[in-house]
Amino acid sequence: MKKLINHPDNVIKEQLEGMQAAHADLIKVNFEPYYITRAGGPVQGKVALVSGGGSGHEPMHGGFVGHGMLHAACPGEVFTSPTPDQMHEAAKAAHGGAGVLNIVKNYTGDVMNFEMAAELAIAEGIQVQNIVIDDDVAVKDSLYTAGRRGVGATVLIEKICGAASEEGYDLKALSALCRTLNQNARSMGMALTSCITPANGSPSFEIGDDEMEIGIGIHGEPGIQRDKMKTVDEIAEMMTVGILEDGAYSRILKEWDQDKGEWAEFEYVDEPFKKGDNVIAFVNSMGGTPVSELYGVYRKMAQVTDKFGIKIVRNLIGPYITSLEMQGCSITLMKVDDKMVKLWDAPVYTPGLKWGM
């Protein structure tokens, strides 16, 4: 294992110290427990947008704290969900009196820990909602699995909801927007290599020089299948077609019922993409793949969406939701209306994403 690190035990702390040193104008890093909030403090009267997850996906989420995006982010150990007490401290530090929206990626650990965190905040009188993101089409059904993973859509949702919070959406409206964006988005990922976590020192899976993993998540785990390596046209086509041909998807997600004061289950059915849809297209590097290769992916993806009758109105291309140094990519398509596009275009100023200000 060769990484630009010191002792594996200190990686997270030191990288957070580096982030704090680099972005003191944008973020404030708390060290015990770990969380990141905006340097300017809580934004009074606006819903606090909070997310978190294991470290190892940078810039997500800590790099997305700042104006127009997250109010707080909690980094756990590498690839490990942060803990409720950590998320609770972050929520309290970011809370501006208008409630907290937790953007929760759909992993068993993330969901449970964020639920316990929400319970802690609610017990202290903070209004909270948890919206679960589950955009990964590689996981086919929700009955016999832990459900679709939350992957690329998370980045797009954090941006759009961050702008909506800035615009003054209340918790109910912001939750509704977040829910709709999740239902509008589908993703697929693949890997050329695995990755090595500092704590373990060895690759998360072995893979040959002529092989690739299809349907990966973001935690270095194997995908849903191993294939022989193909051309980027074949790969991008397979992934984009996989997204576009994914049918109606139904599952049950838990959200907080404000009136009853308890968790409630809701069944959501996502409709597939159809001709005439406008989308944001996100081509993401898993961390080790350079942007030049992403443009090869984008080229074929754009040909496929065009043939399907879908219009790409905005795009994002680069390493935004990563798995350490893994080589590979993911594609996310998110159906958007004009309002969502305006929120996408709204100013954002974070370590990981900047435009408009």
Binding site: G76, E77, T83, M112, N113, V139, T145, S204, G215
Partner: protein, 211 residues
């Protein structure tokens, strides 16, 4: 009967055994997960162990609840809330007790298992820690109801745990991260079931230690 001292011994052994088996649990979680279960369990029980001295004067229920809080705030991932809920429910059930009768031991396991199933919604056969905790709980309840002494009942529980963890190998995971792999999760032993087995073994070892 299990004394408070033996309960504390149990938790100490958990720390030692989970540290010894950190690499093994990591390997299991590498094949069908994200390679953090070994580190997660080690981190949590190391903190538990560090706190044991200050918990000495509390009742067993309070000890379990403190363990729960520590695991919840230290472990992270899926196993943190699950094991945390196990000890929280066990702690509620064992509130005020200074020692555990045979019946208490079975009730403790039942409360813990119910907590894990309530929190994670897994059933036996889903290829999770429930595939160890459930048969262990049922065996303890059955044997203790039939009058078996605690050491013998726990010895039987260890056998059941060993079988339960082996039984996870051919299963297709339906819960947790391994479920993303579908059929590819077959042929691999579940990490959480393995740490559960280790924890049950430690309880048995503690029962045989000084009270």
């Amino acid at each position: 009967m299990l004394s408070k001292k033996q309960i504390v011994t149990w938790l100490t052994l958990c720390h030692e055994v989970l540290e010894e088996n950190k690499t093994w649990l990591t390997q299991l979680d590498t094949a069908i997960g994200d390679a953090d279960h070994g580190n997660n369990m080690h981190r949590g029980f190391k903190k538990v162990h560090a706190q044991l001295s200050e918990l000495a004067d509390k009742d067993i229920g309070a000890i379990f609840k403190a363990v729960a809080m520590t695991l919840i705030s230290t472990v992270g991932g899926a196993s943190g809330p699950l094991y945390g809920t196990f000890f929280l429910q066990a702690g509620n059930k064992m509130a005020g007790k200074q020692e555990l009768s045979e019946t208490d031991v079975a009730a403790m396991m039942r409360a813990g298992l119910d907590g894990v199933k309530m929190r994670g919604k897994a059933q036996p056969g889903d290829k999770t820690m429930v595939d160890v905790l459930s048969p262990v709980t049922e065996a303890l309840e059955q044997n203790i109801n039939d009058g078996m002494p605690v050491i013998e009942a726990l010895a039987k529980a260890v056998e059941v745990a060993e079988q339960g963890v082996k039984d996870t190998i051919p299963l297709v995971a339906k819960k947790g991260r391994a479920s993303y792999l579908g059929e590819r999760s077959k042929g691999h032993q579940d990490p959480g079931a393995t740490s559960s087995k280790l924890i049950v073994e430690c309880l048995y070892k503690a029962a045989r230690a000084d009270s």
